[in-house]
């Protein structure tokens, strides 16, 4: 036995390495290892068997096969069958019909397996054209290649203790790397970081936990923000009745691109079109405006006479939009303002969150204080997610498979809504008692959950375990909303009642990273906060 835990058998260890050496093409080294260790890769019987197969000594190979030491009767028969099949076809090639027939009758048939194939062999004798249909390629003079192919097939069938499986060492190592990656708690880096020299372990320093920028253009509380789908822009909306589009520069710094003025009420939320060319903003119980991201121009204002709108979103790949209305309905429009549909399901009016899956098929909305309704528009099937506490807000994941639900009792629940809704994880620790606080998915492969909090901190949890990883201080007012850059796992943005937006990233010290993200150095490290 070798290895500190005494679970590795020396013979297996050496043979696996020998096999790997041969696979890499290091014939001489492989042979030397066999000699020096005294551990042959294959037993002498197996070596003889291989030689016989490659040389076409079928009968001898069958005898050797029985001497190799196979326990399984079925394996023995299957291997014999394949060898005899090759023998049969090679004889047939030489047009020795009688001999082939003899082989078929006295050697292959008695095995009594693969009867269908045996019938196919018979038809090959009768009509030569059948051979191609059966899958036996024209051998011609080249016998080695098909024999090598046969040997490969046979090797796969023999038990692994006799024939070390191909690429076994590589497989074991990939398995170990996989385990390390799974176990990496803070995993937020790309695959190229995996090395054989040390166990992979992302430190906490791989989470965005340092304020890299404070954006102060809003004049009042910032209630909502969201990065664009490609991560090139950030849009924020505020109690100051405006929304702002920020541009994320190559170096990671955000600059103001457009201030969107027009709403006469606080702007509740924004929604990016799937191609990031347009932005929807929703004024509180007012109207929804559609803006051109490039020019900052307002392209359209959607309103409902006598009623107010409380949420907005896109679906059908940006061809249509929907909005929650104060009369408890959800309204659907096409871009030109033509009202397409109005859904009058049971809904609560104050909670504005509505989500529509990307294919436009499912509408997800609040139907009661503690119940979320998932409606399939085609089948009309209704599915309910029932919570025990009042729901304050929810968010549908990028892949439409998960729902992140914020509850009144300071808990965040993650539900899998792919089939029957199932509660997956609960996240706790942040503070909420009066306001609408939002949370989001983020990081590499959405492995983290982030949330705002009434204690002015940004909270980050490990998605699968629910463990609280970080509570980031910095803001001087309730953090209402957070958004993680979809194309940069190291950039997080938070919106607060202190009128600012904070951009979080890695610390200055950890500026160098092995991946290809463009965001590197830190800018505008601010002391304290504004206001």
């Amino acid at each position: 036995m070798i290895g500190p835990k005494g679970v590795i058998k020396k013979i297996e260890f050496v043979r696996t390495i020998t096999k790997a050496l041969y696979s890499l093409g290091y014939e001489r080294t492989g042979a030397v290892l066999e000699e020096e260790s005294g551990i042959p890769l294959y037993s002498s019987m197996v070596n003889l068997f291989r030689k016989q197969v490659l040389e076409g000594n079928w009968d001898e190979s069958l005898i050797t096969l029985h001497k190799i030491g196979l326990d399984d009767e079925n394996v023995l028969k299957s291997v014999s069958f394949l060898i005899l099949e090759q023998k049969f076809f090679e004889i047939l090639e030489k047009n020795k019909i009688m001999e082939a027939l003899e082989t078929l009758r006295s050697e292959i048939t008695p095995l009594s397996i693969n009867k269908k194939r045996v019938h196919e062999f018979s038809s090959c004798i009768v009509s030569p054209s059948q051979r191609i249909l059966v899958g036996f390629a024209d051998v011609g003079t080249e016998t080695l290649k098909p024999r090598m192919k046969l040997l490969e097939e046979l090797q796969k069938m023999l038990p692994s203790s006799i024939m070390v499986p191909e690429r076994r060492l590589e497989h074991l190592i990939e398995q170990a790397l996989g385990v390390q990656r799974e176990a990496c708690y803070f995993h937020n880096s790309h695959e190229s970081c995996l090395s054989l020299y040390t166990d992979h372990q992302c430190g906490k320093d791989h989470l965005p936990s340092h304020t890299t920028q404070v954006l102060q253009e809003h004049h009042d509380e910032v209630w909502f923000l969201q990065f664009s789908n490609q991560g090139k822009y950030l849009a924020s909306s505020s109690n100051d009745k405006s929304a702002i589009i920020w541009e994320v520069r190559e170096d990671g710094e955000l600059t103001l691109k457009h201030k969107l003025i027009g709403h006469k009420k606080s702007v509740l939320m924004v929604a990016w079109s799937p191609d990031d060319s347009q932005l929807l903003t929703c004024g509180m119980e007012e109207a929804v405006r559609r803006w051109d991201v490039h020019s900052g121009e307002c392209l359209y204002v959607y309103e409902k006479t006598g009623l107010g709108l409380i949420s907005c979103g896109w679906f059908l790949h940006g061809k249509q939009l929907f909005s929650g209305v104060t009369d408890k309905t959800i309204c659907f429009w096409d871009l030109d303002g033509k009202e397409l549909d109005s859904w009058k399901g049971q809904r609560t009016s104050k909670i504005s969150d509505v989500a529509v899956t990307k294919d436009g098929r499912q509408i997800i909305s609040m139907c009661q204080e503690t119940v979320i309704l998932l409606l399939d528009r085609e089948t009309k099937i209704q599915t309910l997610i029932e919570e025990e506490q009042t729901i304050t807000s929810f968010l549908l994941s990028e892949d439409d498979n998960f729902l992140l639900v914020n509850l009144i009792n300071q808990e965040i629940h993650l539900w899998n809504v792919r089939n029957d809704p199932k509660l997956v994880t609960t996240y706790k620790g942040h503070k909420r008692s009066r306001f609408l606080i939002r949370s989001c998915f983020g990081g590499l492969e959405q492995a983290f959950i982030a949330s705002g909090s009434e204690d002015s901190q940004v909270y980050i949890w490990h998605r699968s375990t629910g463990d609280l990883l970080e509570a980031l201080p910095g803001h001087s007012g309730t953090v209402n909303c957070v958004s993680w850059n979809p194309s940069n796992p190291y950039m997080l943005a938070s919106a607060s009642d202190d009128h600012t937006i904070r951009i979080w990233g890695l610390s200055k010290v950890n500026g160098k990273r092995k991946d290809t993200d463009s965001n590197g150095a830190v800018h505008h490290l601010c002391n304290g906060s504004s206001k």
């Binding site: 509380e221 209630w223 109690n239 606080s266 509740l268 609560t348 009016s349 104050k350 204080e369 009042t390 304050t392 009144i408 008692s433 009066r434 306001f435 609408l436 606080i437 009434e454 309730t478 209402n480 009642d497």
Partner: protein, 127 residues
């Protein structure tokens, strides 16, 4: 201050006298015979749209209790308190329930003015 989250109740409700935020359902009313420093108070099974303050031990008319002041989540007014724990067995029924001061709530049919006639009340019991 942030985007305030409020729950909407169905039915006859009692509201915060100052900002009209819904605080409790009439059907959750248990007793009208409670008292507070400022006068009458009502005991409810449940109150909503409130934030709860710190717990403290208070000696009330009916004995030692652990209570927490409750505040309207919109305007922040102290609208009453919540019973967290009661020492005496006979008072245990109050645990988890809410008291809203009559002077701080409105039920839609209220007069604008409410005169406090009791000088130093603490809480009272059901008759």
């Amino acid at each position: 201050m942030g985007r305030i989250f409020t729950v909407e109740l169905d039915g006859r409700v009692y509201r915060c006298r100052f900002c009209r935020t819904q605080l409790a359902l009439a059907e959750d009313l248990i007793s009208k015979s409670f008292h507070c420093r400022h006068g009458k108070a009502y005991l409810f099974n449940y109150a909503t749209n409130i934030s709860v303050g710190d717990e403290e031990e208070r000696v009330l008319f009916s004995g030692m209790h652990t209570v927490a002041d409750i505040f309207c989540c919109c305007c922040g007014q102290n609208v009453g308190w919540k019973y967290v724990a009661a020492q005496e067995k006979t008072q245990k029924y109050k645990e988890g329930k809410f008291v809203l001061e009559r002077g701080r709530i409105a039920d839609g049919t209220d007069l604008e003015f409410y005169i406090d006639t009791r000088p130093n009340g603490s809480d009272g019991d059901d008759s």
